[in-house]
């Protein structure tokens, strides 16, 4: 356990962790609704440039409200935030042209085709060149695999196609930062894989990606950094090593009934602390001890090894541990 990692959100800790340039930063970002409900509470986001930042939390944990505040859609009731080193929402007209966003699902005019919808979004962009509009929207549609359906009306799109069009809109222009809120919602496994590949590709091109999800699996594979939200607070933030450090690995030994006492003694001798014993099965936290040393010591100690397993917790386990709730729990 590294107590520092759980306490992310404290300025000092977050600041010290990343010293490089930040694509997204917030200090004490807070949103209290008029009803009095605090949706986001003192958030200190640190998204380094070039990172793929997994923004994870159960539904209703405040992810979308945070993203809306970052993009200037919702006014924070406290704290401040920066995108690409520009203060928001003051600099929104300057900085948002460099930011592609998918916020809480795609939304387009249902009676326009996908292509016409992209043309509309491009036409309202003061910095987009109308001469290259057709080519750029064609390329964006191609990238998300929507070329064939580009001229269908949006209302005829499936949920997955809508999601793809939303991504295409975010990719209409080269972006320095992509904010993707639940980008895989409504996509089939194939689509989810494609989105992951797209995110990888974009990240390889140098774009910072902030991707939120309540489905950990989708993010786990692509992100270089994570931030975990629970009940409006950021409970964990950092690069993957933070998770590794929390990787609370444990060793499980299955032996014969006669060797249980010996095995327990060997494990204690290695400094693993007292193991939990359930019949012929012993489980002990691994700590810093390499697993191969444990197996060797057990064999040397004459323990009959029926089974040997190292269990490392994945992000999901960390998540459950931190938030104390399942993924689909809404507030």
């Amino acid at each position: 356990m590294t107590p520092a990692a759980t306490a992310v959100g404290d300025e000092a800790e977050a600041g010290s962790e990343d010293t490089g340039p930040l694509a997204v930063r917030s200090d004490g970002l807070t949103k209290r609704f008029r009803s009095g409900q605090v949706a986001v509470d003192g958030l200190g986001l640190r998204v380094p440039r070039g990172a793929v930042y997994g923004f994870i939390g159960p539904n209703g944990s405040g992810k979308t409200t945070t993203i809306r505040m970052l993009l200037g859609l919702v006014q924070p009731t406290g704290g401040r935030s920066w995108l690409l080193d520009e203060s928001m929402p003051r600099a929104s007209s300057r900085v948002l042209t460099r930011v592609g966003a998918l916020v809480e699902g795609p939304a387009f005019h249902p009676y326009l085709s996908g292509r016409a919808n992209l043309a509309r979004l491009d036409a309202v962009d003061a910095t987009a060149d109308p001469r290259t509009r057709t080519r750029r929207s064609g390329e964006a549609l191609e990238r998300v695999g929507l070329s064939a359906a580009a001229d269908k009306k949006y209302r005829q799109y499936s949920l997955g196609m809508k999601q793809r069009l939303g991504l295409a809109a975010a990719l209409l222009r080269p972006r320095d930062l992509l904010v993707l809120d639940e980008p895989t919602n409504g996509l089939d496994p194939q689509g989810t894989r494609e989105v992951r590949n797209l995110v990888r590709e974009l990240a390889a091109g140098g774009t910072t990606v902030l991707v939120s999800s309540h489905l950990l699996a989708e993010i786990e594979q692509v992100c270089s950094h994570v931030g975990i939200m629970s009940r409006g607070r950021l409970v964990l933030q950092g690069d993957r090593s933070v998770l590794a450090a929390r990787g609370d690995a444990r060793v499980a030994v299955v032996t014969t009934p006669s060797c249980v006492a010996t095995a327990a003694e060997v494990l204690r001798g290695l400094g693993l602390g007292s193991p939990d014993v359930e019949g012929v099965r012993l489980v002990a936290p691994l700590g810093e001890v390499p697993p191969e040393r444990v197996s060797a010591a057990l064999v040397r100690g004459g323990v009959d090894l029926v089974g040997f397993e190292v269990r490392r917790s994945n992000l999901e386990q960390v998540f459950v541990e931190l938030t104390g709730e399942g993924f689909d729990v809404a507030r």
């Binding site: 807070t30 006014q75 924070p76 009731t77 406290g78 704290g79 401040r80 203060s87 929402p89």
Partner: protein, 406 residues
């Protein structure tokens, strides 16, 4: 930062608030300033003022007049007449009129309806009324004798001959109340005011001797041209608001364009010809007899001054049904052609009463109530009693006075 952003978003609401204040200031400001009393006009005696008013006629002008009647009449059922310009509008509520005159014998007065107009154009020896709602023209011409007299006296007098039914302009009302009833009244100059943006003297005419419904008449007279700009007739029954109020809301003293003062019936309109005579006894007087003008044949007068009651018997061939007696009644208040005047003319079937065509019986029934003596109309300024034996009594007196006379 967050706090300052919230401050600024709150501050944004100051913009519409400021805009609202500015708008209200802009719209409400000028009239408030304009209604502030004026001062510094040279002093003038009532007699001088009345004499000056009497000769104001030579003023050519055009302007807009607001007319308001609060006669306390039963409200008329909403019908076509209520939204289109029609002289019956003058019985109650506010009516806007446009007035153009060359100061001599040519003039146009238009009652303005929302999408209609009723015009009276007087052009020397002939006159026209035009109702846009009915697309109907009435053309008034003088009979041979009157035409001869008109020719002879043409240009020799300053008084406006009115061939057509006259309309209640401030000038008309002021003339009638000042010229005819002065000997029964106290006339004072009570101060100064501003009407239609012009400085004016306030002349107050107070009836003497009582017995009348009129408590006083206030005439605002333009300080420069001595043209009456507004007239208020106050009733004894309502001390809060004048029962009758006529005044310019804007006025320009200049010769109107000749196109406005002429008229020719439009294609497709129905045209009715009327030949009228000038009443005897008073040269060039309005065809509708006034208190001192020739009384119609068969009329009797009770009382004097403001409390005069005129009694007429029904002319048999017109008395189609009771309560439909042709009568024209003097307008002791001086409001010969305004709402009260029109009440007096109710039942007049000679056609010269504007807009009183076939609906008048119904209108009369709406306005009158049944009393032992017959049918009674009582308003803030005038009472009319149509007796069961076919007499009509009218005057600016309480209803009880008429009932006692009947």
């Amino acid at each position: 930062m967050g706090d300052s952003a919230r401050m600024s978003s709150k501050a944004r609401w100051a913009v519409p608030a400021g805009a609202a204040v500015a708008v209200v200031g802009l719209f409400a400001g000028p009239p408030l300033l304009a209604s502030a009393g004026s001062s510094g006009l040279p002093a003038i005696t009532p007699q001088e003022l009345v004499a000056a008013v009497a000769s104001h006629q030579s003023q050519a002008l055009s302007g807009t007049v607001a007319y308001t009647a609060r006669l306390g009449l039963p409200s008329l059922p909403l019908g076509s007449a209520s939204d289109s310009a029609d002289p019956t509008n003058l019985l109650s509520g506010t009516t806007t009129m446009r007035v153009w005159t060359d100061g001599q014998e040519r003039s146009r007065v238009s009652l303005i309806g929302q999408t209609s107009e009723y015009s009276v154009v007087a052009d020397g020896p002939q006159a026209w009324t035009y109702s846009s709602a009915k697309n109907a023209v009435v053309h008034f011409t003088l009979d041979a004798a009157a035409a001869k007299r008109f020719q002879a006296e043409h240009g020799k007098t300053t008084s406006t001959p009115s061939v057509a039914p006259s309309m209640p302009t401030p000038g008309q009302l002021a003339d009638q109340s000042l010229a005819q009833v002065q000997k029964f009244s106290t006339v004072t100059v009570e101060g100064q005011s501003k009407v239609a943006g012009r400085d004016a003297y306030e002349l107050v005419v107070t009836p003497q001797g009582g017995g009348t419904l009129v408590s006083r008449v206030v005439v605002a007279v333009d300080s420069q041209t001595k043209t009456p700009l507004s007239v208020q007739v106050w009733s004894t029954t309502n001390t809060k608001d004048p029962a009758l109020e006529v005044g310019f809301t804007s006025v320009r003293f200049a010769m109107p364009s000749s196109a406005v003062l002429t008229f020719s019936p439009p294609k497709g309109a129905s045209v009715q010809q009327k030949v009228v005579g000038l009443p005897a006894g008073h040269p060039m007087a309005p065809s509708a007899p006034s208190a001192t003008g020739g009384l119609p044949h068969g009329a009797t007068v009770h009382g004097t001054g403001w409390a005069t009651v005129v009694e007429r018997s029904v002319v048999p061939e017109h008395g189609r049904l009771q309560g439909h007696a042709p009568t024209t009644v003097p307008a002791p208040s001086g409001a010969a052609s305004s709402g009260p005047g029109m009440l007096g003319q109710l039942g007049g079937s000679d056609g010269s009463t504007p807009g009183m065509g076939g609906d008048q019986a119904a209108l009369l029934n709406e306005l009158t109530t049944k009393v032992p003596q017959g049918r009674l109309l009582s308003s803030a300024l005038i009472s009319v009693l149509i007796t069961n034996d076919g007499h009509v009594l009218a005057g600016a007196v309480p209803a009880a006075t008429l009932q006692a006379l009947a």
